[in-house]
Each structure stands twice: as C-alpha cells, then as structure tokens.
C-alpha cells in the first residue's frame, strides 16, 4: 500500500508542477490546489498509514498518530485561504491588465480566442450588447 500511496503523491506533484509552470493564472491556481492536496497527503503520511485507528481515546486500543493530523488540518484551512487569495489576485489582474497571463502579456493565440469569443457573443440574438464594464 505504501508504494501505491507514494506513486499517487508523486503523480499528483508532477501534474501540479506542470500546471504551475503555465502562463495562465487559472492553470496556476489549479496547480496550486493540486499541489496542496499532494502536500497534505505527504504530510499526513509522516504519521504512517493506519486504518480503523482514529485518535479518539477509548479503552486501550491502538491510535494513529494525531500530530500530523493536527498539522494537516490547519494546513487545509490555510491552503484554502491561499488558494482563494491567489484566485482573487488573478481576477484582479484580469480586471486591471485585461488578460489572464501571469506576466501581464497576452499571447497572440489568446487575443485571437478572445476575439472569436467576442464575435460569438455579438452574434448571439438574446444579448447583442455582449457585456459591460462596471
């Protein structure tokens, strides 16, 4: 089981690293989320993999290691805060810079894609104005 667990964590890290190296903010936030899952699993594993032994005190049974669990619990909550912050930062950058590239420069293909999207919106009969700025 340990081997499978390790492989799983490794695959998750690999996927998240690839996503974090992309240029679009959304991909990077996705990568961050995956990475925090993987890191939590890794941290959690430092206490060993025990089944049916929760760290709830009862009479004389075996308990799993509570310390990594406590650490991971706060890590999950903090990870949520971090993901949220990164995501809102991405939205803010999109609002201020007009694109969703981390380096603030839109690639040509994106400009093209946006244009196509805009044309589609214009063609849609229900909503000719497309959208507006607030």
């Amino acid at each position: 089981m340990e081997l499978i667990y390790s492989i799983t964590v490794g695959v998750m890290v690999g996927c998240s690293v690839f996503l974090m190296l992309r240029g679009h903010t959304f991909s990077i936030v996705m990568g961050l989320t995956l990475m925090s899952y993987a890191v939590n699993l890794f941290l959690f594993a430092s206490g060993g993999l025990a089944t049916h032994e929760p760290a709830i005190l009862a009479d004389g049974s075996e308990y799993s290691d509570p310390l990594p669990q406590a650490l991971v619990l706060t890590a999950i909550v903090i990870g949520f805060a971090m993901t949220a912050f990164a995501l809102i930062l991405a939205i803010r950058a999109r609002a201020d810079l007009g694109n969703d590239q981390v380096d603030g420069r839109a690639s040509e293909s994106d400009v093209l894609a946006n244009k196509l999207e805009g044309e589609k919106l214009r063609q849609s009969p229900e909503k000719p104005s497309g959208g507006k700025y607030r």
């Binding site: 690293v17 690639s107 894609a113």
Partner: protein, 933 residues
Amino acid sequence: MSLIWVPVLPLLGVLVALILGRFPRSMLALGTAILPAVALGIVISLIPDVFAGNIPTFYAEWVPLLSLNVSFMLDGLGLMFTLLILGIGLLVVLYARYYLSPADNAGRFYASLLLFMTAMLGVVLSANLIQMWFFWELTSVSSFMLISYWSHRSDARKGARMAMTITGAGGLALLAGLLLIGQVVGSYDLRTVLDSGTLIAESSLYPVIVILVLLGAFTKSAQFPFHAWLPQAMAAPTPVSAYLHSATMVKAGIFLMARFYPVLSHTELWFAVVSLVGLTTLLYGAYTALFKHDLKGLLAYSTISHLGLITLLLGLDTELASLAAMFHVINHAVFKASLFMAAGIIDHEAGSRDMRKLNGLFRYMPYTATLAMVAAASMAGVPLLNGFLSKEMLFAESLHQDILGSLSWLIPLLVTVGGALAVAYSLRFIHDVFFNGEPIDLPKTPHEPPVFMRVPVEILVVLCLLVGVFPEFIVGDLLMAVGASLMPTGVPQFSISVWHGFNMPLLMSLLAVLGGIALYKQRKVMFTFQARFVEVDAKMAFEEGVQRVIARAVSLQEWIDNGSFQRYSFWMIVAAGFALGAPLINLAEARGSLPLTGIDPVGLGGALLLIVGSVATLLLSHHRLLALVTVSVVGLVVSMAFAWFSAPDLALTQLSVEVATIILFLLALYFLPQRIGLHHLSPGRIVRDLGIATVLGALVGTLTFAMLSRPVDSISDFFTANAKTGGGGTNVVNVILVDFRGFDTFGEITVLAIAAIGIYKLLAGIRLFAPSADMDGRPWSKDANPMMLMQISQSLLPLALLVSAYIFLRGHNLPGGGFIAGLITAIALIQQYIANGVEWMRDRGDLKFQWFIVCGLSIAFLSGAGSWAFDRPFLTSWFDYFYLPLVGKFELASAMAFDLGVYLTVIGATLSILANLGKLTTGHRPTRPDGGS
C-alpha cells in the same frame, strides 16, 4: 558632568539649529554655539583627570551578548581630538554666520555641521569598536550633506557623491577589519583590544587586519591613491572646508591609525606601507598644490600633502615619530583652518578665488593679509611659528629611521624636497595674492571683512604664534597625555623648543626654505612644463566610472529579474528539485526497514481515482470547467483517503473546504476566460516542463516511500497520553489544536483573517467585465434563484446550523471542532446566498463578516490572555466537570472558548471571501426579464 554629554549635547544642538532656523542669523549662530560650548566646558573640566591618568569613561549595556554596548572614554588621544573638534567647530560656527549669504538656509547648514561634529566626537571618544564604526560612517553621511550643501550646483553634488563613495567604501573595509579584530581578541571593547597587541600580531589574520584598517584610514585621510575626493569636496562652502579639511574629517583617518598604533604598528608591514604611502602623498600633494590657480585648490592639495606628512611620521620606526605626528595634527589643524577662513574672506570680499586675478590685495585688506601671511608662513615652516616645530621634528625623525635599509638616506632627502615644495606653494599663496601687481578685473572692489568674521582667524593665528614660541608651555602636557595613549609602555623623554642649536634638521629647514624660494622664482618654467600634461578631471572620470557601474548593475538586474513570473517559478521549482534530490542521492536505499502492508482494493481504487483525476486535470486544463470537475474529484477522493486512514477530523475538514473551494472556483470562472487556446505552447516548452514535472514527481514519490517505509520516533505519544488528563478531551487532534499547540492555531487563524482582509481589499473598487453569456454564446439563465433551491435551502438552514453546533460542541471528544463547524456554518450561509440572491440576504440583515473575524480573533486572544490573571503563561488551559439537572454531567474548558474564536474567525473569513466575490456577480444581472440592465 558625565562624559556621555560631550557627544550628546552637539546632537541636541542639531535640533536647536533646526528650530532656530527661521530666527535672525546672529540668534541662530549663538543658539547653535551654546550646546557645543557647554560640551567644550565639560571636556576642559575633565582635563586634569586625563593628565593625571584617570581616564573618564561612560558605559551602558545595550546588547551585551553581541558585545554591543554604549561605551565612551576620554584618554589623551581622544582629548586632543575632542578639543580640536569642539574648539575649531565653534570658531567655524561664528565664521559661517558671516560667510553664508541671506539666501542660504542657515538652519540646515548648522544642523548638518553639528551632526557632523557629533559623529566626529563619537569616533574619537568611542570605546567600543562597532560603536566607533557607526560614528565613522555617520561622518561620511553627514559630510555628504555638508559638501552637497549647495545642492543646486552640479559640482557640489558630484563632489559629495565622490567623497561619500570613496570614504564609504573605506568604511566597509574598516568594518571588516574591526570585525576581524573582534574575532581575534574576542571582544569589541577598545581597552581589551588595546591590551591584546601580541595576540593580534601573532594571529595569522594580522596582515589582513592591517590592510583593511589602513584602507579605512587612507580613504578617509585622502592618502594617495585615494586622494581624489578631497579636492572635489572643495565645492562645499568654505566654512565646511575649513572644518572638514583641517581638524576633522580627514583627521579621522589619522586618528584611526593613532588609535590602533599601539596594537597594529611595530611590524615591517605597517612601517613599509604607512611610510611609503605617506611619503608619496606628501610629495604628490605638495607638487600639485604648486600648480593650482584656485586658492582653495592650493589649500586642498596642501592638505593632502600635510596628511601625507603625518602618515609618514606614523610609519617611521623611531621613538618620537608618532608623537611628532600628533603634534603636527594640532599645528596643521590650527594653521589650515585659519588659511581656509582667510581664503573664504578673500573670496567673499573680492569675489574670486583665482590667483591669476587676485593680485596686490595687501593694499585693500592689510589686516586680513597679515593674518593670512602668518598662517601661510606657519604652513611653510618658518621659525617662531608652530608649523616650524613639527616640521623640524619630522626632519629629525627622518634622519633616525632605517626602513629602507641601505636606501634609508632617500627619505630625509625626499622629505626636504617636500619641505621645499611647501615653501614654494606657501610663497605663492602670499606673493601672488597679496603682492605681485594689481588685481585683474575682479567682480568687486576688495575690502576688509566684518570684524567678527576675522575673529576666528585672529584666534587661530595667535595660537600659531603662541605654540610656535612657547610650545612646551601650551601643548607639553597634552602631548604627554597623547603619548600615553600611543605608547602604553611609557613615553620617552622629549623636549619641544624653538632652538636646538645648529644641527642637521636646522640645515634641512634652511635648505627647504632656500629651495622653495628658488622653485618659486622659476615658476614660469615649471608652469609651462606642467601645462604640457593633459589634465584629467577626476570628477568626470569618477562620474564616468559610476555611470558604467550603474549601467552594468541595471543590465545584470534586468537579466536576473526580468519581471516574468513564469521564469521565477521555473527557477524556484528547479531549486526545490535540487534541494530535494541531493539528500535523496545520499540515501542508499529508498525502501526502509518497515514491512509493507498489503494492498487493499479500496485503497487501490482511491489511488487510481486520484491518479486519473490529476492527469485529467492536466490534460483538460485548457477546458477550464472540465478541469474544475476533475480537480473536485481529486479533492473528494483525498477527503475519503483521510477517512480511510483513520483521520475523521481531516476528512470532515477537507470535505467542507472542498465545497467552499469549488464554489469559489465557479465564481472566479465567471470572470475569467473559460477556454484558452493551446497554440501558444511551443513543443520545446512542453517537453521541458514535462521533464521537470516528471523529475519533481519522482523525487516526491521516492521521498514519500522512503518516509513511509521507515519507523518514526515522534513526540505524538505525549499528546495521546496527556490529552485526557491534561487537556480534558478524548479527540487528541482537537486537543492538540486548541490546547497543546493553541498558539500555532492562534497564528493560523490570524493568517486566515489577514488573507480574508487582503481579498476584501483586492475586490474593492475592481472593474470587471461581467459576461452575459457563456463561452458558446448561451446566455446565462435568467432564473437566478430557482424556486426549488430556495425552498430546500431555506428549510435546510436551521438543520445545517444545528449540525454545525453539534459538531462544534462534541469537537473536544469526538471528530469535529471549531474549524469544521465554522466551515459548515459558512457553507450553510453561502447556500442561502446562492439560492436566494444577495439582495434577499441583505434584506434579512446585512451580515458584516469582518466583525466575525474581529470577534473571533478577540475571543481566541482573550481566552488565552485569561490565564495571565492566574499567573500562568499565555493559553494555559483549564477545564472541569459540572453537573446540572436534566443536562447531566458536562465539561467546561477554557479551550472551548478558544475553539469558539476559531469557529467565528473561520466563518468570517470564508464568508467574506465567498460572499464578497459573489456580490460582484449580481450587480450586472439584468433586473428585468427583457434583458435590460
């Protein structure tokens, strides 16, 4: 009075000068002078103590572990410099009153001057090496302000920057030297260091220390080849030059050499370096001074030359050389200050400093001319004046040294040549300016200055004469005390008097005077010769160098820090890979000693789901909604994994966070492009990133396996054993969170609060493009709040709140607790927002989520601070059992109050993140069914 007041009073004077800046000039000058004058009085009152050998000290501990203390002492050496700094400083204050024009900001001038005075006093009085260095750097900084006082002038700015750069660089070398000394001696206390001469001399670091300390001294004292900044600093107002280049700034380097003379000298290295550098500077400065047409330029190079003379004396290996050096420090300070002031008067009253225009001024200002001539004669070394005495001592000492072995005879010869050059340029100063025909088109008719502008010059010239005629009486005791600082083993017998009989030094003096006169007579020839050299403007050359360095630094920085986040994350990930890989390479085998457990089908299925979900996320990342679905699959399976591996608390937390995260992502996706092109991915980039990702994944996987297959010796047993007895709960994870490691949790909810506030700020005033249709052109549903969802969620709300209360209350003993309960409450409320809309929620009480955060943090803090009332450390917990009828036996614990704080903070943070973002989506929704907005 305590010694500490000597540097502190001028520092307070800085404030006085700034406050009085708007008042009339005389009042300002007087007010500025009072505090330094009191300091001078204190020093004078301490003189008998110093002469008697009782060195006054001041000591206060600051950071004793780092050997950083406030420590001052007033020994003979310090006394001499303190008298010069304060005495000449006061004269400069008086002089500047008349020198500065009404347009100048005199308050700022006096403030900088007193700051500089404080810095100098700090250098000479410090008894702690680091403290001394601090003041040393302060002299560089404050002299920068003084030199660049006329900051509208380009030459002033450039000159100041050059002085700052060179002396500052020397200061860094000095710091390195002082730190090495501290390392060798084991203390930064000056007296300890001065007692450890042999320790330092025998250390292998000795040559490095000497070179570093000398670099500091040579840059400050403008020794060749670091002299270039001094002539450029002449762009300062003349009172500044009179102060910086006579008694203070440049003498700081000399002081440094004298300060460490007892411990660092007496070696071949010291004598060779110091004497040769001094000799070169002496000759170079004297020669160049002769050809300067600017009055202050002549004095500047003469200063360099005299500094060289003093350095040379400190580098001679004879008994009295160092004492002669200190004597010359006094003499040079006195006559050079008066000469600079005289030059300033001439500039002020004649409107020019060019000696080709200034001629025959004796007729217009006979009194000033007489004073200047006496001072210049002292500079040349004419008998009955103080300059003569120390120059005679130099001649005498140069005859006794044997530094260059059989070539030692060269030194007296070269010193005599230097003397002759000094006579020549002094003669030029006198003859060219005051005689030699009529002035040539001066901007104004020269006349005598105001009486009090002359007074400082008079005082200094009288001192020149007094010391020159009664040397033993005026400075004998002072020199004795200085000698005690320089030669702790005992001062040799010496006598300073005007007449020593006919001897070699007298002959050398005579030769120097005759040679000087001859040189001056032949000046036309020499000027013609000198004109054939191409003159390099040191300022411009330096500026060019500075610009080149800046350009390089900028291009280097742009190369490293080009603003691309992608590049930074690439390098960070690569670095992380190396940090991870290196220890793994050293690990012999990945698999450890523990036996592996068998594969169970549930675990295998979960692992496969995780792998498939992660890979699918990667592959679908350009199709964002689908990627979001696969990520949520991964998150769900992770929470199931926690449940499977005996971590119910984690499973609950992960599950509720998962819900919040997905809602957040969906909201965000509304504002972000929902699909992106893949054409921008170059194949090279894909291969590179896949390679890195594979390596990182393999590294982390190996690390996980290595960790899982090895036994762990953790501190967890303590928590398991004490959770019930010490924390009063059976859910060990929760007891750790709210009790054992409560302080960590407190920090973590603070981070959560900060993130929420940061997000709140990021969303404030945002201008967003709110699309009205999805990526395929389908308009968003106009039925924002479906009836069914409204009904179900409204009826679910009380139930959800009840569940969260239950989870909260049981948290201490069963899976649950503040984090989980907070998330459940937050999700229940968010559900109301989704189902009923923002307006509906607002009508039913506009919740201020920030208040939740504030209350939560306050409760958590107060529950921890409560233990202070019982004289216990922060967050000491308390619990007991009570009995109520109907309810039965129950437990109350202070940790529950803490958990309540966690609960409220989590609600506040989660809601303020989600609801604030959610509010943005609604403002633009069509309010009427026809699609108008």
